[in-house]
C-alpha cells in the first residue's frame, strides 16, 4: 500500500496536514468495492458453473474451469431467441417515438409558450412521479377492448406514453439553452418553426438526446411490470419475463438463469458505455445548476 501514497507526497501544491487519509480511504473504498461487486460476480460465476456445482455450495468459489453449457443451452433455445427479438421490437420503436414526442413537446414549451403552457408543462412532468399501478386497470380494459392484450403493441404504446414526461422535461430544458436570437434570425430569413427545430435546435441538443436514448432504452429494456400485465403467451414474452419464466421451466436452473441474466444485461451495458460521457453529464446537469 505504501506506493499509493507516493503521488500525493510528490509535487502536491499544498501539503495536506493529514497524510494517512488517502491510504485509509483507499482501503475502505476497496473493501466496499469488493462488497459491491459480489452480487455481479455471483451472476458471472453462476453462468459458467453447472447447476450441480452451485447446489453443492460452490457458487462463490473462484471458478477453476469454465463450463459453457449454460450459454449453449440458452442460445440454442428457440423461445429465448424469441424473447430477445420481442424485447428489441418493443424497445427500439418505443425509445425512438417517445423521444420524438418529447422533442415536439419540449420545443413548444421552450420556444413557443402560450397562455397556460406553464401549467400544461407541470401537468405533463408530474406524470413522472406517479406509480404505474394507478393506471394499470383502466389500461388493461382499454387494450383488452382494442384486442391489443398479448401483443407487442400494447407494451410499445404504454412505453411511448410513459416516456413523454421525462422526454418533455429534458428536451424543454435543453431547448431553453438555445439562444432565442438564433431562432428569431432564422425566422426572419424565412425559415419555418419546423426548420428551426430540425436544422438548428436539434443539432445543438445531441447531448440531451444521448441522455434520453440511454434512459429510455435502459428503462424499457429492463421493464418488467407492463409485459407482466399485458403479455400472456410464451411467444410474446420479453427477456425479463423470460428470466422469471425459466424458474418454472426447469425445477432448479441457476446456471441457465445466470447465463440468461448476463446476456439480458449486455444491451443496456453497451448502450450505457457508449453514451456514458453524455449520460452522467446530462443526469447531473440539474444537480450542479440547482
Amino acid at each position: 500500500m505504501a506506493d499509493i501514497q507516493l503521488p500525493h507526497g510528490t509535487g502536491a501544491p499544498s501539503a495536506k496536514p493529514f497524510n494517512p487519509w488517502p491510504v485509509v480511504i483507499f482501503i475502505i473504498l476497496s473493501i466496499l468495492a469488493v462488497l459491491f461487486l459480489a452480487p455481479t460476480v455471483g451472476v458471472l460465476f453462476s453462468s459458467i458453473k453447472t447447476t450441480k456445482e452451485i447446489a453443492f455450495g460452490r457458487l462463490w468459489d473462484f471458478p477453476t474451469s469454465v463450463y459453457w453449457g449454460n450459454f449453449a443451452d440458452i442460445l440454442s433455445n428457440p423461445s429465448v431467441q424469441g424473447y430477445f427479438v420481442n424485447t428489441l421490437l418493443i424497445t427500439v420503436p418505443a425509445t425512438v417515438i417517445s423521444i420524438t414526442l418529447g422533442i415536439l413537446n419540449g420545443y413548444v414549451f421552450a420556444k413557443l409558450p402560450f397562455r397556460g403552457s406553464g401549467i400544461l408543462f407541470l401537468v405533463i412532468i408530474s406524470g413522472m412521479f406517479f406509480p404505474p399501478q394507478v393506471i394499470l386497470i383502466p389500461l388493461f380494459r382499454l387494450f383488452n377492448g382494442l384486442h391489443l392484450i398479448d401483443t407487442l403493441w400494447s407494451v410499445i404504446f404504454i412505453h411511448i406514453a410513459m416516456g413523454i414526461p421525462i422526454c418533455t422535461l429534458l428536451m424543454r430544458n435543453f431547448f431553453a439553452t438555445v439562444p432565442n436570437a438564433l431562432r428569431e434570425a432564422a425566422i426572419l430569413e424565412g425559415a419555418s418553426e419546423w426548420q428551426v427545430l430540425t436544422k438548428i435546435a436539434l443539432p445543438l441538443s445531441l447531448p440531451a438526446l444521448a441522455v434520453l436514448v440511454t434512459l429510455q432504452f435502459t428503462w424499457i429494456w429492463n421493464d418488467f411490470l407492463w409485459p407482466l400485465i399485458f403479455i400472456q403467451s410464451d411467444e410474446k414474452r420479453t427477456v425479463m419475463l423470460g428470466i422469471v419464466n425459466l424458474k418454472g421451466q426447469y425445477s432448479v436452473a441457476w446456471g441457465v438463469q445466470g447465463a440468461l441474466s448476463l446476456l439480458a444485461s449486455l444491451p443496456t451495458l453497451i448502450v450505457f458505455l457508449f453514451f456514458q460521457k453524455y449520460f452522467i453529464k446530462g443526469m447531473t446537469m440539474g444537480a450542479v445548476k440547482g
Binding site: I54, A161, V288
Partner: protein, 293 residues
C-alpha cells in the same frame, strides 16, 4: 406572427398530447370511476357499489400491513441509498487513487434490471449456499442456514438492502457532480481557519450540496414509489404478506383475485399518497429555491 405561432403549437403538440391524454390522463381519471364498481376484469356487466370498496379498505388487515410496509419501504428506500451515495461521493472526491474505477464499480448496478438484481440477491440470501450465510458461517465457524427471504422478520429488510445496493450509484454520481461545483478556495479557507474534516463536511460542504440533495431525493421518491418489480421477484409480498406493499397488494387483488374494482380503490389511495408526498416535496423545493436562488 401570433397566428403562425398558434399553427405550429397545434402541429407540434397535437400528437404527443393525444397520446398522453388517451394513455395516461384518461386511465388515471377512470381509475376513480372503477373504484366505485365491482368490476371483475372480464364481464362487461358490473355494478356501481358506492363507497363499498373504500369501506372494505378500512377493514382490510392486509391493507394496513401493506400501508405500514410501504412507509417503511419508502423511508428506507429514500434514505439509505442517498446516505450511502453521499458517503461514497465524499470518499471518492478526496482525490483517492483509482477514483474513476471506483465510480464505475459503484455505478454498475444501476444498469441492471430489477429482475436481474432481484434474482441475484435471491441467490445471496439462499439458505444453503447463499453468500450471506456462507460469510456468516465462515466468521462464526459453524454452518449457518437462515432463510432470509422466507422469514417474516427479515424479508422486507433483505429486499431493502438489495434495492439500496442498486440505487446507491445514482445518488453517488449526482453528489459527485455537486462536489465538483464547490470551489477549491472555499475548502482551502476552511483548512487555513483550522476547521476539522467533520466540521468542513457538516458546515460547509453539506449545505452547498443542497441542490444535489434535492435531485437525489426527487429521483429516490420517484423510484421508490415504483418499487414493485424487485419485491415481486424476491418475495412476491410474502411470506405471510410480511413484505407486501400497496403496489404489490393492488396487483394481487386485481390480477390474482380479479377484484379489479377493489384494486382500483387501492390504486386511488396510492395515487392520493403519491400526490401528498409530491406536494410536500414541491413545497420544500420552493423553500430551497428561495434560499439558494
Amino acid at each position: 406572427m401570433e397566428k403562425e405561432n398558434r399553427f405550429w403549437q397545434i402541429v407540434f403538440l397535437s400528437l404527443p398530447m393525444a397520446v398522453f391524454v388517451i394513455l395516461i390522463i384518461w386511465p388515471l381519471t377512470s381509475s376513480f370511476y372503477y373504484s366505485f364498481t365491482n368490476w371483475n376484469g372480464f364481464n362487461s356487466d358490473y355494478q356501481y357499489v358506492g363507497f363499498d370498496n373504500f369501506i372494505k379498505i378500512l377493514t382490510d388487515k392486509l391493507f394496513y400491513q401493506a400501508a405500514i410496509n410501504t412507509s417503511i419501504w419508502m423511508v428506507a428506500a429514500i434514505f439509505l441509498p442517498s446516505l450511502f451515495g453521499l458517503v461514497l461521493a465524499l470518499l471518492i472526491d478526496s482525490s483517492v487513487p483509482g477514483g474513476s474505477i471506483f465510480k464505475s464499480i459503484f455505478y454498475l448496478p444501476i444498469c441492471l434490471s430489477a429482475v436481474v438484481v432481484g434474482q441475484t440477491w435471491v441467490w445471496i440470501y439462499q439458505p444453503d449456499w447463499g453468500l450471506m450465510n456462507t460469510v456468516i458461517g465462515f466468521i462464526a465457524q459453524e454452518k449457518f442456514n437462515y432463510a432470509w427471504l422466507a422469514k417474516p422478520d427479515t424479508a422486507l429488510g433483505s429486499v431493502i438492502l438489495a434495492w439500496s445496493w442498486q440505487q446507491t450509484g445514482l445518488s453517488m454520481v449526482i453528489y459527485l457532480a455537486g462536489l465538483t461545483s464547490i470551489s477549491e478556495d472555499l475548502i482551502e479557507v476552511c483548512e487555513i481557519e483550522g476547521a476539522s474534516t467533520w466540521q468542513r463536511i457538516r458546515l460547509v460542504i453539506f449545505p452547498l450540496l443542497t441542490p444535489a440533495t434535492v435531485v437525489v431525493i426527487a429521483l429516490s421518491v420517484i423510484n421508490s414509489l415504483k418499487g414493485f418489480d424487485i419485491l415481486y421477484i424476491m418475495t412476491g409480498g410474502g411470506p405471510f404478506n410480511s413484505s407486501d406493499t400497496l403496489a404489490m397488494h393492488m396487483y394481487n387483488e386485481s390480477f390474482k383475485k380479479y377484484l379489479m374494482g377493489y384494486g382500483s380503490a387501492i390504486s386511488v389511495v396510492l395515487f392520493l399518497i403519491a400526490l401528498t408526498i409530491i406536494r410536500i416535496y414541491f413545497k420544500q423545493l420552493k423553500k430551497v429555491d428561495e434560499i439558494y436562488g
